[in-house]
Symmetry: C2
Subunit: 247 residues, 2 copies
Amino acid sequence: MSHPSKTFSKQASKTLYEIIFNRRDVRGEFNNKPIADEVLARLLIAAHHAPSVGFMQPWNFLLIQQETQRTAVHKLFQTANEEAKQQFDSERQNLYQSLKLEGLLTSPLHICVTCDRNRAGPVVLGRTHMHDTDLYSTVCAVQNFWLAARAENIGVGWVSIFHEAELKKLLKIPQEIHIIAYLTVGHVNSFHQTPDLARKGWRNRLNLNDLVMHDEWNNHKNNNLSDHIQSQLERLNPDPKNPENKS
Amino acid sequence: MSHPSKTFSKQASKTLYEIIFNRRDVRGEFNNKPIADEVLARLLIAAHHAPSVGFMQPWNFLLIQQETQRTAVHKLFQTANEEAKQQFDSERQNLYQSLKLEGLLTSPLHICVTCDRNRAGPVVLGRTHMHDTDLYSTVCAVQNFWLAARAENIGVGWVSIFHEAELKKLLKIPQEIHIIAYLTVGHVNSFHQTPDLARKGWRNRLNLNDLVMHDEWNNHKNNNLSDHIQSQLERLNPDPKNPENKS
C-alpha cells in the first residue's frame, strides 16, 4: 500500500518563491550579533538534507569562528583580490575597486564547505560516468543552507577570491579534499532588493526566455511557455525596481 | 536611507524546511499528467534567480519533450548503465540491478541544464581564482528548480549515468558547453518519505555531527552546537521512520 505523501499548498510555494527572490549574496550589511546555535543547527540540517549522488553526502562543514582565523582568511582574500583586479581592463578596474566583495571581518561566522570525493569508496552509484556530480551535490548543500539562512533572516555571502591551496594550508584541509564554497554568515542590518552587481552597474539580469531551448540546442521557439514566463514574471515580480538608488 | 527588507516569519522557515526534507530524487513514481506551462514557467523563474558568480547567469535550460528524443536519451542511459553495473563487485551488482535509477520514459519532460563558461567573457568577477564557480552557480539553479518543483508537488530526478559526449551529440550541444544536470520532471503518484537508496539498503544517512568541524580540519569538539543539532533533529524530524517497508 502506498503511503500518502505531503501535498504542499499554494501558500507554501508562494513562500518558497519569496525566499528565493529575496536571497542575496551579502557583503556589506553584516552586523556583529551572534548567531544562536539553535538556528545554526537548523541551517546545517537543511544543508545535510541536500540531494547527493549515490547518497554519498560528501560534504563537511568547517565552521570558522576564531577571530585570528577569520583575520588570516581576510589577508588571503586581500592578496588574491589585488591580483584579480589586475585582470580587468582599466575602465572596469575602477568599478571593480569600488565594489564590496566580501564581509570576512564583519561576519561572526565563516563556513568552509568541502567535498570528500572518497567518502563512499572509489566507485559511486551515479558518478561512474559524470565524475563531478559529487562536487555538484556539495553545491546543492550550499544552496539549501543559503535559502534556509534567508528564511531565518540571516545573511550569507559566498567569497571565491582566494588561492585554494593557501586557504587549505591555513585551515589544515588535506590535499585530497576539495573546497567548494567559502561562506560568510551573519545577521544583517537589511537585505538589498536587487543583487549588488546589478545595482552597481556591473551586469544585468538576463532575459529568461533567451535561455530556454526546446528539444535540441539553439531551438528557441516562441510558444505558450514564453508567454507564461512573461506573465508569471509580472505576477511574481522577482526583480522589483530598486528604490535604494533614489535615496 | 536604507530600504526595509522582507522579514520572514517562523512559519516561512518551517515551510522551507518541510520542502527541503520532503524533496526526493524521483525515479519510479512519475505519471503522464502533463505539466502546465504556467507552473513550468515558475520553476524556471526560480532556477533563474539562483546566485551566480559575477552575476554571470551561465545557465541554459534545454527542455526535451519530443518522445523520439526522450527515447533516444533512454537508450544512452541503458548502455552507460550496463557499463556502470560492471564496476561494482558481484554482491553489490545484484542490489544495483534491482534499483530503479531513472524515470526517462515515464516523465513527460526532461531538462538538460548546461553551463556556458564564456557567457561573461574570459575574465569573470569572482572566478579569477576559483575557476569552477560558474559550474557551481549552475548547480544552484538546479537546486532552486528542484525545491520549487517539490513545493508545486512535482517530482524531479537527476540522472547522471550517461557519456556526456554522446548526450551532447544527440542534443546538438556545442563542445564548449558543459552539461551540469539532466533532469526528469513530472507529476508523481506519491513522494517517498525517505531517499530510495536509504530505503533499499544501499547507503544510510550520515550523522551530521560527524561532519561538522571547528576552526581547522578534524577539530570536532563536543559543544553546545552538537547538542542543538541533536535537539533540532528531534524537533524537525527530517528522516521519519519509513512505514513503507511494512506494507
